[in-house]
């Protein structure tokens, strides 16, 4: 294995959070970004082909080793706990925020047809949602958006990986 690729692998292995190409480049300053990206692709493919217990995945703008989804039942046994489930209400609120961000609470209320106060609070506590600022209208209401942790938890590279609203609409009309 090439030395550079080995170094990249080591960096990812040792880092706690998904690590970005830029961050890897801080260590490998003499290596071109494109080369790092190429090595990363190689590594992703290698783990994919190996089909072992974990994969190298691109998530939340970085790379991270993650266990294979189909092994979840064994992993939850290890964790000795029930997986943290989110209520449907919280999921719906999260979906509206993810697609409409930055969005004010009254808009989320309107779309869901209920007061989303409590689910919004739990999403903020879980750090899946954050305050993005205030809207420049009378009353200056707070605007909400999703966090990096949202991407990590939902296994997303970035927000563009979500199906678009148009795609969802088409899907709906298809059924």
């Amino acid at each position: 294995m090439e030395e550079t690729k080995a170094i990249i692998e080591a960096i990812i292995f040792a880092s706690e959070a998904p690590i970005s190409v830029d961050k890897i480049r801080e260590v490998l300053s003499n290596v071109e970004k494109t080369e790092i990206a190429r090595h990363l692709q190689d590594l992703v493919a290698e783990y994919e082909n190996r089909w072992g217990g974990f994969l190298l995945q691109e998530v939340a703008g970085g790379f991270q080793f993650r266990t294979r989804p189909d092994l979840s039942s064994w992993m939850t046994k290890l964790m000795r706990g029930k997986p943290a489930m989110m209520s449907h209400a919280a999921m719906e609120t999260l979906a509206v925020i993810a697609y409409k961000q930055p969005v004010v609470k009254s808009e989320v209320d309107r779309i869901r047809g209920v007061d989303v106060g409590s689910s919004l609070k739990s999403l903020l506590e879980k750090k899946l949602v954050r305050i993005m600022g205030r809207k420049d209208v009378p009353g200056k209401p707070i605007m909400y958006g999703t966090t990096k942790k949202f991407l990590e938890v939902f296994n997303l590279k970035d927000l563009s990986e979500l199906p678009t609203l148009k795609e969802l609409k088409d899907l709906q009309e298809g059924t």
Binding site: R66, R68, P69, G81, P83, E92, E152, V153, L156
Partner: protein, 242 residues
């Protein structure tokens, strides 16, 4: 704790309405308002009968439905009335709202089907949740705020006050000593309850110092304090090793 029947079948009035439309196999663009309103109100009645909390939003939509129904009962505009010829269907706004909601309901479902961290996928190392499992703390335990700790302290303090005796020769103790003592005991046992920390001491000074030490340690983020329910056992855990 008593059992509470939770029947949150519907995520809100729009969800209920969508359910009724689907159940009756109705074209969403041509909702028979009279029928749907009737069924909607029946469901509200049933929910109330089951002792479910019928939130105000349900009632608001009920009144919207009735409003639309009455509007539709009015005779159509006269032909000569050119300006109002293209008057909007009174249902239009509601239909738009329903379609919007449906999209996000689907979006939520799609999100939920993704492989989720700590449900389907796991990362290396000890996550906070896992550490909590090791220390025997459930996810349902709430992390305590200072206020709840103050309350708990007040209860113990007032209980101790009843058997207070006059004592002149108070052993000298400092807050630093108490902090060190607590940290020492915690590093031995990993977790302790508030009562265990106090031990048999019931004198006010000791309780006070223990309390102040805990507050200080919480502030320094060296410990974490949990409680499963109000008035439940308070558990103190070392915050290190995260």
């Amino acid at each position: 704790m008593g059992y509470e029947v939770k029947l949150d079948i519907f995520e809100g009035p729009l969800d209920l309405l969508l359910y009724l439309i689907k159940k009756n196999e109705i074209d969403i663009y041509d909702i028979p308002i009279a029928l749907i309103t009737e069924q909607y109100l029946e469901h509200l009645e049933m929910m109330r009968y089951l002792n479910l909390d019928v939130a105000g939003e349900y009632l608001l939509l009920a009144s919207t439905l009735i409003h639309i129904k009455s509007k539709m009962l009015l005779p159509a505009q006269e032909e000569g009335d050119e300006e109002n010829e293209e008057e909007e269907d009174p249902r239009a706004e509601l239909v738009k709202q329903l379609l919007d909601y449906q999209i996000f309901k689907d979006a939520a479902m799609q999100l939920e089907q993704r492989p989720l961290l700590e449900r389907d996928i796991f990362i290396r190392g000890h996550s906070v949740e896992q550490q909590d499992a090791e220390t025997g703390i459930n996810e349902t335990d709430m992390e305590l705020s200072v206020f709840e700790l103050v309350e708990a302290f007040y209860r113990i303090f007032s209980a101790a006050g009843q058997k207070e005796l006059m004592e002149i020769d108070v052993e000298k103790m400092s807050l630093t000593d108490r902090i060190n003592e607590i940290m020492e005991r915690l590093s031995e046992k990993k977790k302790l309850t508030f009562a265990e920390l106090l031990g048999d001491y019931s004198d006010r000074r000791m309780i006070l110092y223990t309390f102040l030490a805990l507050l200080e340690l919480m502030k320094l983020r060296m410990i974490r304090v949990y409680q499963a329910s109000s008035f439940g056992v308070i558990r103190v855990v070392l915050a290190a090793e995260i």
